[in-house]
Every structure is written in C-alpha cells, then in structure tokens.
C-alpha cells in the first residue's frame, strides 16, 4: 500500500468526520494500527479539528461536573433497587415455585408411605390367604380321598361302640377286602394318660391280632390307615402302656369293640 496515496485519497478526513461505513472504518483502524505514518497524519488532522472546535468554545455553566458526579454516583446504587424492583417478581415467583414443589414432595411422600402401608397389609393378607387356601386344598384333598374310600362300593363300615368302661367312646374301621386296605376313624375316645397309648386289635377266629398303636388325633382329620387283616370278625381298641402290648390285649382296658356283620 502506498501510504502517501492512501493519505491523499482523503479517507482519514472521512474517518475523522464520521463519514465511513462500519466496514470502511474497521479497515482504516486496522491500517492505523499497522502504519505509524497514518497515525501521525491522523494525529495532525485531529489536532486541527480540536483547534477548530476550540474556536467554537462557549463558557459552560460552572458546577455541572458536580451534577455529573452526582448522577454517576446515584447511578451506581440505583441499579440494585432498580434491578431488585425489576427482577423482584422472579425471586418471589421462584420462592413460590419452590414452596409448591416442597408441598408436592411432601404430598407425594405421604401418598407413597400410605400406599406402602397398603401394599404391606395386602401382601400379608395375601400370604395368609394363600396359606389358608393351601391348607384348605390339602384338607380338601384328604377329605376327597377319604370320601372316595368311604363311597367305594367294596368298603364296609365296622362301628366300634363304647364298653362300660368308656360308654361315650366310639370309633370305626373302614375295611375294603378288594383293595386289602383298612382305615381307622377315631370319632370320640377319652384322652389317654401320658404313659398310655391306644392299640387296635383284630379278632380272627377268637384270637387278637395286633394292628398297631395310634394317637387320638384331636383335629379329627379323619381316617388313619391301619394294617389290613384278612378274615377279621371283630375289631377292638384297648388302652395299653406306651409302645403297645406285644403279649396281647389287656381286656380290662378295652374301650370300644365292634363286630364285622
């Protein structure tokens, strides 16, 4: 770039007078930073302008600088109230939102807690019901099984009645010669002393045959399977020492007896 031509073009004067577009102005500023001769020329032009403007001087009223300082210092603290006044709805609104959010949180927590309680209660209830249902199903299966035994056409019922020793006692034997199975049904027997146990006997041709000891089942869950003895003519229950008698029934301690009809 030829500096003298550039200066002679009058672009610095345009720059000084504020006649350039932003792009042109930026270009001049770049050149000013690069070429000291341009800066010197501009300096001269600026001094001319200052001298020229100085000729237009007019006494300014004294004390305006104090006014300006007052305005500057008023401005400094003014922004905070202005800003606070302007933005005050925001902290207020934010506070409100925070409060609403907090309330919502608390409400949701309460909801969750009460729901958890319900869930816990229902879970327990369900477990209980499931257990009850299982038990019922089990009971029902046992009962069905027993009912099947009782309803079987080949099953015969032998009822054993109480002896004078225990007139209220009653028990039965279901007896199926086809299946070769026998079942004891304790309906009502007095509770035995702790050292004693009931023992079931079959009478075959006048001789007692051991059919095992048994416990009085209180829940009356029904039939207990006992050994099948062919050709039994009668059944009886005696009270024996715990473990049962191996030498034969103690006849004085007989509580029930029934004949096969």
């Amino acid at each position: 770039m030829n500096i003298q031509d550039y200066i002679a073009s009058g672009i610095l004067e345009q720059y000084l007078m504020g006649l350039l577009t932003d792009t042109e102005r930026q270009e001049v500023e770049r050149n000013l930073a690069q070429y000291p001769e341009l800066r010197e020329e501009l300096d001269r032009l600026e001094h001319t302008l200052e001298s020229y403007l100085s000729l237009h001087r007019r006494p300014a009223p004294p004390g305006l600088d104090a006014e300006v300082l007052k305005r500057i210092n008023d401005d400094v603290p003014t922004p905070p109230p202005a800003a606070a006044g302007k933005s005050s709805p925001w902290p207020w609104l934010l506070g409100l939102l925070a409060l609403a959010a907090l309330l919502a949180c608390w409400w949701l927590y309460q909801q969750r807690a009460s729901q958890q309680d319900t869930i816990d209660r229902l879970t327990t209830e369900l477990a209980e019901l499931q257990a009850a249902c299982d038990q019922t199903r089990q009971d029902s299966a046992v009962l069905e099984q027993q009912l099947a035994i009782i309803r079987n056409a080949n099953t015969r019922l032998v009822q054993m009645r109480g002896t004078p020793k225990a007139p209220e006692a009653i028990a039965s034997v279901y007896w199926n010669t086809n299946d070769q199975k026998a079942y004891l049904d304790v309906i009502s027997l007095p509770d035995p002393p702790t050292d004693k146990q009931y023992q079931l006997w079959a009478i075959v041709d006048g001789n007692p045959v051991d059919m095992g000891v048994f416990e009085v089942v209180i829940d009356s869950s029904g039939l207990q399977e006992v050994p099948f003895i062919a050709n039994a003519q009668a059944f009886a229950v005696t009270l024996e020492n715990r473990g049962g008698s191996t030498t034969g029934p103690t006849l004085e301690e007989m509580v029930v007896i029934g004949n096969v009809s």
Binding site: E13, L32, E50, I72
Partner: protein
Amino acid sequence: MSSLFQKRDQRETEIVDLLRRGDQRAVSVIYQHYADVLFGLIYKIVRSETIAEEVLQDTLVKIWKNAAQYDRSKGRLFTWFANIARNTAIDKVRSATYQREQKTGSTENLVHEGVLGTEETQVADPGLQKVINSLDEKYRVLIELAYFQGYSQREIEKELGIPLGTIKSRLRAAIQELRTKLDNEFVRKLLFAILLVTLLLNYLLQT
C-alpha cells in the same frame, strides 16, 4: 505549535490514567479542560443553552461509563470526547422531544436556518470568525454538514449535488486549509503576544 500539541497529549494521558483507575476526579479534570469546547460544540448543534447543558451532562456521564471502550490506537481522546458530544447532541436534535419543543413556539429554532447561512450571528470568538470568514464557503458547508449535522456521504451528495469523489477530495482540502488557517492564526496570536510582552517590558524598563 508542537508544544501546544505536546501539552494537549500530556493532558490526555493523565485523563486516560484517571479513567482507567476509575478515579472520579477524571470528571472534574475533563470538565475543567474540555467543558467549554464541548459545550460550544453541543450548543452549535442544539442551539439552546438549556438543552446544551443537559446534553453536556449526558456526554460526561457517557464518557465516564464508556471509558473502557476508548482505544488510543483509533484516535485521540479529545476526538473521542467530541464524537460522543456530537452524537449525543445530534441524537437530541433528531429526538421527538426536541422536535416538539422547537415546534411549540421556541425562539431557538435556528438549527436549519443556521446550517448553510452565515455564522456571524452565532460566533462569539473573533478569532473563529476570522478563520471562518477566510475559509472557502464550499469547505465550510462541507464540514458543517458532515461534522455538525451528522450527515452521511449520501445525504451530503443529495444536499449539495456533488459526487462522492468530489466530497472526498474537497473534505481533505477543507481540513488542509483549516489547518493552515489555524496555524496562521496561532502564529499571529503568538507574535501579537510577544509584541505585547516586548512593549510592556520596554515600558517598564523605561519607567
């Protein structure tokens, strides 16, 4: 002449330092040294003492607030001050409030009459009057429109009916001529002062 420039530049450096440090004394120093020039410039544009006072205050507040934007490499501090004053004043003149005030029967409606007419009624400084009178009319009008009225080149082109190229060369010539005239004026003042001092000394020595 160069000693005057040195003095000006030294003063600017001091003020820039004060502004950089955020020292509020800068405002008073600026006021002390530049208030009259800036007030004269503003008054020339707004044509009202009251409005000019208002604009001068606004200008100083802007100078203080925008001090960080001043860039020495782009021009002298005074030019920056003058630009702020000029722009604030031109904005004021173009504002709706000013237009309204001027319409409602103010006696200060000289803006447009004074632009291209003679400056004799507005200039108090006889030195200025001399410079202005000696300045070619076509140059004076150009500086008037571009600087004091804030016209764009297109607006000047339209107003004066001269092409852009001519505006550029004429503007350069105008400022060159101004420089010569002002230098002459300064030299004349200097010679006058020397003469005066010499006469005074002579008189004192004689008595």
